[in-house]
C-alpha cells in the first residue's frame, strides 16, 4: 500500500488514530478529569432545572459542539477533551438566551486568571480583619 505523505494524508491518519486508540487507564475510568468539569456539569444541570433550556436543547448543542470539533482542524491539533465541548455547548446556549454576555465572560475569566491565587495570604495580618465596634 502506498504511504500517503501529503499533509491531508497525514491529517487523515492522525484523525484515524484518534478514532481507534482508546485510552482506558487511570483518568479514563473517572467521570471528571478536573474539578472544573464537575462544576461545568452541575451548572448545566442547574441552568436546565431553573428553566433556561430543555435538557434536549442542551444535548443538541453538545452534539453540535462535538461534531464541529471532530470535523475541524482542531481535532488534529488538540487532544480530545469532552468537557471542553460541554462548556462550549453551555456557553452557546446561555449566550443564545441572552443570559450570558461573551465579552463579560472573557473579561471575568481574564480577571480570575490574572489575580494571584493567594493575593491575601502573602502578608501576615497583624490587625483584626473586621471590627464590630462597641456601642
Amino acid at each position: 500500500m502506498r504511504v500517503d505523505t501529503t499533509e491531508v494524508g497525514d491529517a487523515r491518519r492522525r484523525v484515524e488514530q484518534l478514532l481507534t486508540e482508546l485510552p482506558r487507564d487511570g483518568q479514563e475510568q473517572l467521570s471528571f478529569a478536573q474539578p472544573w468539569e464537575l462544576r461545568a456539569f452541575a451548572v448545566a444541570v442547574a441552568a436546565h432545572q431553573n428553566g433556561l433550556y430543555d435538557w434536549s436543547e442542551f444535548q443538541l448543542a453538545l452534539i453540535g459542539a462535538i461534531r464541529e470539533w471532530e470535523d475541524s482542524q482542531r481535532s488534529r491539533d488538540e487532544p480530545w477533551r469532552y468537557y471542553d465541548r460541554w462548556l462550549e455547548a453551555l456557553e452557546s446556549l446561555l449566550s443564545g438566551t441572552g443570559t450570558l454576555d461573551g465579552s463579560e465572560l472573557e473579561h471575568r475569566a481574564h480577571t480570575i486568571l490574572t489575580t494571584p491565587r493567594d493575593t491575601d495570604h502573602h502578608h501576615a495580618r497583624r490587625d483584626p480583619v473586621a471590627v464590630d465596634p462597641a456601642h
Binding site: S31, I66, E78
Partner: protein, 207 residues
C-alpha cells in the same frame, strides 16, 4: 439566530490551557450566580449528588433484583423506567430507559454515537472512555473485535453481539447474565458482583 451570533467568542478556535478553561468555567459560574440564575448551594448540591450519590450501585441493585425476582425482571424488560421507579430510582437522563438482556446467544453493549447519552439514574455519569471518539465509532464498526482487544472480553463467535445507540430520547442499560454458582446468594450479595462495565456490556459478571 445565526450560528455566528451564538458562538461565544472567537477565542474558542484557539486551544485553551487547563488554567484558562478552569478560569473560564469559574467566571461563568460566578456570573450566573451574580445574575441570580442559580445559587452556589444548588450547584454544590448537584455536584455532590452526581459525584457521590448517583452511581452504578443503583443499577447493580436493579440487576440483582431482576435476577432474584422473575416478575420484577419481566417488568424491567417491559418498561425499565417504571420498574426502576418502583425502587425509587429515576431522574434526569432516565426518563426513557430500556434494559436489554444478555442471554446464552445474545450479548448486548451500549454506546452513544453522537455524544454521551447514558442512563444516569442507574449507572451514574459515564466514564471518560465512554465519551471518547474511539469508543463511540469503533464499537459500532467492529464490536466483537473491540470488546476483545480493548476490554479483554471475548464474546464467542457463536453469540450475536448487539450494539444499542442511546440518544436523547432513549437510553439503554444491559441486564447481564447471572453468573453460575450463585444460587445461595442474596440480592444484596449479588449486587456487589455487578459492575458498571457489565451494565455497559464491555465485561461479564464474575462470581
Amino acid at each position: 439566530m445565526t450560528r455566528s451570533e451564538i458562538t461565544p467568542s472567537p477565542a474558542v478556535t484557539v486551544p485553551r490551557s487547563e488554567a484558562e478553561i478552569a478560569a473560564r468555567m469559574k467566571a461563568l459560574e460566578a456570573l450566573m450566580i451574580e445574575k441570580g440564575i442559580m445559587t452556589t448551594e444548588a450547584v454544590d448540591r448537584l455536584a455532590d449528588i452526581y459525584e457521590n450519590e448517583v452511581g452504578p450501585q443503583l443499577g447493580a441493585a436493579v440487576v440483582a433484583k431482576a435476577w432474584t425476582d422473575p416478575e420484577f425482571k419481566a417488568r424491567l424488560l417491559a418498561n425499565a423506567t417504571e420498574a426502576c421507579a418502583e425502587m425509587g430510582i429515576g431522574g434526569l437522563q432516565g426518563e426513557d430507559m430500556v434494559a436489554v438482556e444478555n442471554t446464552d446467544t445474545v450479548h448486548n453493549v451500549i454506546v452513544c454515537t453522537l455524544c454521551s447519552c447514558y442512563p444516569w439514574p442507574v449507572l451514574g455519569l459515564p466514564p471518560n472512555w465512554y465519551k471518547q471518539p474511539a469508543y463511540r465509532s469503533r464499537i459500532v464498526r467492529e464490536p466483537r473485535t473491540m470488546l476483545r482487544e480493548e476490554f479483554g472480553h471475548d464474546v464467542p463467535d457463536s453469540m450475536e453481539v448487539r450494539v444499542w445507540d442511546s440518544s436523547a430520547e432513549l437510553r439503554y442499560m444491559v441486564l447481564p447474565q447471572r453468573p453460575a454458582n450463585t444460587e445461595g446468594k442474596s440480592a444484596a450479595e449479588l449486587a456487589e458482583l455487578v459492575t458498571r462495565d457489565a451494565m455497559i456490556g464491555v465485561a461479564p459478571v464474575r462470581a
